[in-house]
Symmetry: C2
Subunit: 224 residues, 2 copies
Amino acid sequence: MKGFKIQPELSGPVEDYLKVIFELETSAGVAGTNEIAGALGVAPASVSGMVRRLADQGLISHERYRGVQLTKAGRLAALRTIRRHRVIEAYLTTALGYPWDRVHDEAERLEHAASDELIDRMAAAIGEPTTDPHGAPIPSRDGTLNEPALQSLATVPVGARVCIQRVGDRDAEQLRYLAELGITPGRLVEVLAREPFDGPISLRVGRITRSIGAGLAKQILVDA
Amino acid sequence: MKGFKIQPELSGPVEDYLKVIFELETSAGVAGTNEIAGALGVAPASVSGMVRRLADQGLISHERYRGVQLTKAGRLAALRTIRRHRVIEAYLTTALGYPWDRVHDEAERLEHAASDELIDRMAAAIGEPTTDPHGAPIPSRDGTLNEPALQSLATVPVGARVCIQRVGDRDAEQLRYLAELGITPGRLVEVLAREPFDGPISLRVGRITRSIGAGLAKQILVDA
DNA sequence: CCCGTAAGTTAGTCATGGCTAACTTATGAT
DNA sequence: ATCATAAGTTAGCCATGACTAACTTACGGG
């Protein structure tokens, strides 16, 4: 029976730390103290304290004054939390009619309270979705994450027609705006023009032409 | 805009205390420190500490060495939590196929994380139920609890036919047993015999005859 | 190569919500 | 009326996870 260390029930805050560390590792390569603090809305000193505890528990490795990295156990715990979050988001929109701009906050709280059984039942009830409402892939039960190679809409050449795959889910207001524009995963858009110096991008969505800023375009991912 | 004090987001533990104080007040009339401690599985000293904080927040009134009583604000908060709990239980069984012996623990955790919007959407999705799967009435959104007058199966006269209205929901094993016997809310049973000195009670459930102990019978409530 | 700045850490504090051990109060039996 | 006992409280401790203020380290520009 060796090799089976039971997981000692991670607290909500610990799960949040692991989640943002995972996301920072994925996007930025490293997870710095200040970045973690910014993502969680806590003071950098609080991160230093938590980093020590996480390292003591073997969830991250930490080289003083350098960054932080998830261990295998930490990565698995992070992916479990991310799976919960995304399954909950998918369930809330599909089964309970939540608008996609309001599922994030709800999932943020429920992900720490839901049992594995509940998550699996939710996933089964809506047909085992593979992505959440914003297009983010849902890790499998055993912690495998299938992250497809995507490019940002900001880098798509003029004239190309691409399919929206995923949008940033942090800003509810932004999500409402995107829904209004019709920019949702699965939608086809054509890039009509792009102004230089991070200028606006002109799009055709359906039969309507829209112009969006470069910052927003960076949050929109399309197939490569 | 006077008279509108915004509620400062009660913590999970605080909600749990208010809930058990409400339940003890309802069943026992008073809520004593030791009873609260027993119901929550904490030490009596911990209750004393929490009682001070709850009194400071105006959620309970407390006379030293006498009992504890919910204020209007405390009662409302308790009923909100109980509503959440029972709506979640009802939703899990109706919409997600949970067996009735496993909804309690799940609801115990979710009730502190779910928003009012989620609770209302769940309730709407399953047709605004008025009781949870164990027959406990669900408080309304504004904190009204319609507690019907019931009697325990242990006091029903021999020969009477009664309808099961509600069963104790604390013990999962007991719930599994009751389900096996067919003793669920809405079911008709006839009391065939009762032995003296808290002896077993003989029942007809459907066309089958069963005998249950007096302790279990006390946990089964039927229409008066 | 050095040095200022940004990033990170430490020290010390606080609130919450637990615990044990020791004390106080209330109450019922004699 | 008193006194043992159960119920309740206080004191003092701990872990978690936040904070501010002050310090240290790393690093890029000159």
